[in-house]
Amino acid sequence: MISSWHAWAAVLGRDCQLACRHLQDSVLPLLFFGLVVSLFPLAVGASPNLLARMAPGILWIGALLAMLLSMEQLFRSDFEDGSLEQMALSPVSLAGTVMAKVIAHWCLTGLPLVLLAPVLALALHLPASAISVLCLALLLGTPVFSLMGAMVSALTVGLRRGGLLLSLLLMPLYVPVLIFGSSAVLQAMDGLSARGPLLLLAGLLVLAITLTPWATAAAVRIRLG
């Protein structure tokens, strides 16, 4: 009899290993993030003041889109080869299993985005004082993207044009994170304390950790029929 903890660790290890072997799945969102951000100066002009003012929004939208792009991969291969069905059938809590998958996914897509963001922020002339707040806000916000994305990704996995549908369903749900995340950076830029929005982001993260694994597990069961 395998314990829940062992099963959990096994799924986490397996997903990390799989992601390391398909490194392109982690690198592509990063490239996408860099490209989207570098399109903005070309479109709105290279004035440093304007770019600095827009930087929080640009970086957050770039990170949001990159996360959105990677969400489709989360359950797809497991759905196609039947592993997801085995996970649903196993006596171990499915909510715990999907949580392990989300953590692995975030470590290999969300975390690199957070690490790349300061470099892009410098390129957009974001003041150095706001960069640490940006990183902290992304560190709190991108896991929420992953957790909520997993929920909808489980519902749409394997559907025709599932990726497009996933974006359509997820973007409205990402609004609060986007608002608090970019307002934290904007407040830091204006020399105000970013504590309020950061705490709200942390609150959203706690809420997402508490609720989404159950909803994701339910979604997986619905999708498996």
Binding site: L165, L169, P172, P176, I179, A215
Partner: protein
């Protein structure tokens, strides 16, 4: 057997209720329209243009009300597997989406002469827009699913996810707005309305509500017939009405 009885009974109940709802709707609508467009005086600030609230406010009210009703039905569906709940949701979605669109449209038409712009990123407008996306998302997800029962369960879960998110979105937009723009435009102090303006408005809200129930019952009856199309009561019903 139980399910069949439930649908059959529901059909009969809905059929009996229909003419009464229609009668109530016509009466409320007549009073609301005449009271709002003729009897109520023009607003001293907004002139005749204020009368659009007789469509706008009931639409906005129903767009949220229908979503709430759908969320309750979705919970009932997922917990107790009641088929009738999914019939009600399926009937409600297009009506709710239409009212949400109508609320946005009338709001924009009213905003142009009053605020000088079609759109502001006010908390209420933005949450209404997100609500429209949630309705449309339900329709898109429902259509994409390969099997009807899977589509219904996935849709119910999506509605429940949405209903947790609507308040969060609303408050986040409210705080965002007050953080950045200051409370110049975001808070309209609701003026105390004169009774001759308020009564038709309440009548219109009630009329829209009754209209929703009437229309949803009609769609639901249709769905009942379609689902039970092979059973004898449906065939008798169709023959008797042919």
């Amino acid at each position: 057997m139980q399910r069949l009885l439930a649908l059959k009974n529901f059909y009969a109940f809905a059929k009996a209720l229909s003419p009464w709802l229609l009668l109530t709707w016509v009466a409320l609508l007549a009073y609301g329209v005449i009271g709002g467009l003729v009897w109520a005086p023009a607003d001293y600030q907004q002139g005749e243009a204020f009368r659009i609230i007789y469509v706008h406010v009931p639409s906005a009210f129903l767009s949220l009300g229908i979503y709430t009703a759908m969320a309750m039905m979705a919970a009932i569906h997922l917990i107790w597997r009641v088929k009738l709940a999914t019939i009600w949701i399926a009937a409600s979605v297009p009506i709710g989406a239409s009212f949400t669109f109508l609320a946005l449209l009338t709001g924009a038409l009213w905003g142009k002469p009053m605020w000088g712009t079609w759109w502001v990123w006010d908390a209420r407008l933005t949450s209404e827009l997100v609500l429209l996306f949630l309705y449309l998302g339900y329709i898109a997800l429902h259509r994409a699913m390969p099997r009807p029962d899977m589509a219904e369960r996935a849709g119910s879960l999506l509605i429940l996810i949405g209903v947790v998110n609507v308040p969060i979105v609303h408050f986040s937009v409210t705080w965002w707005y007050t953080l950045h723009q200051g409370p110049t435009l975001s808070r309209f102090a609701k003026p105390a309305m004169a009774p001759e303006m308020l009564m038709p408005l309440l009548a219109m809200i009630a009329a829209f509500g009754v209209f929703y129930v009437w229309l949803a019952l009609l769609c639901a009856r249709n769905a009942c017939l379609a689902r039970e199309s092979t059973s004898t009561w449906v065939q008798e019903e169709v023959i008797n009405n042919a």
